[in-house]
Symmetry: C2
Amino acid sequence: MSISSVLPSQTSGASLQAKSLIQEAGERPTLSRQVVLEILLNTPRALTHTEIASAAAEAGNALDRVTLYRVLDWLIDKELAHKIASEDRVWRFNALSRDAQNSSSTHEHAHFQCKYCGQLYCLDELRPAFAFTLPPGFQCEHAELTLRGRCPDCQD
Amino acid sequence: MSISSVLPSQTSGASLQAKSLIQEAGERPTLSRQVVLEILLNTPRALTHTEIASAAAEAGNALDRVTLYRVLDWLIDKELAHKIASEDRVWRFNALSRDAQNSSSTHEHAHFQCKYCGQLYCLDELRPAFAFTLPPGFQCEHAELTLRGRCPDCQD
DNA sequence: AGGTGAACTGCTACACTGTTGCATATGTCT
DNA sequence: AGACATATGCAACAGTGTAGCAGTTCACCT
Ligand SMILES: [Mn+2]
Ligand SMILES: [Mn+2]
Ligand SMILES: [Zn+2]
Ligand SMILES: [Zn+2]
């Protein structure tokens, strides 16, 4: 599956958006960071490390595997991105919307992962809110909700 | 952290329970399978592959790493156990209660994982039931709810 | 402009989790 | 007991992510 299929052709506007988001955070807008953040901003779903590496290479900005891990950690630390665990033991990364950054409950939202192709989407509008009672001694600080099923690409 | 601290001293009753559960499924009750299932039955939380290996070794029944992976897969296939993913990319395994096996919605229940020690518990009584609307083209087949917070062992 | 120092980057080597292939051992059934 | 299916153990490998360290780049200050 080609990554480029999910990536709109890159516009200088997107590049500027990535750069200015980094600059607004008061940080160095290095090429690696711009490239990675731009990829994340330009895709509607969360991408794996491998997918991001391929997308960067396709865009003519191949970067070292380890550097990519560090850039991603950095983006998360600056709250420009977040990562989601899934059953295949691979982290998937997505840009954090400005709204999500500003909300006090940082990016508390549900996710959807396709059982058939593995693609994972953030459901920004769906925030978990449950009523339950835990066994004594357990204190809940956070709830994670992942829906699994069939994505639009995998209709039969 | 010693595994034995969470494992009640093994009784012949527990051993018989593991053996008879396997036999009732019409399968070979090999020593490896009995040992592993007995460990899972005797612990109130889900255990990692490493924890199970240690527990088996402590019980005097050390078994090969790969064999353990295969025994666990086998137990899951026979619906005597299930495994839960978590953010540390390590599967955790727990015996399936008889009730859970018989319920048509096989083991649809929530989990709790401690942010501080990583221990993971099945919340058998807590079945996810949510009302939400997905974006068009997405079909939900399953919902996974994981609560994260502080477990009884990690109170400050 | 040019120098300086903090930081970012790339390379190598490694750790951890899990899988595959294959030879050997075990257990069930006749 | 013998035959056959299958379970086990060993070795080698794959995928994902991390640590250490040397070299480079960039923002800032003369
Ligand atoms: Mn998300
Ligand atoms: Mn469970
Ligand atoms: Zn799909
Ligand atoms: Zn804990």
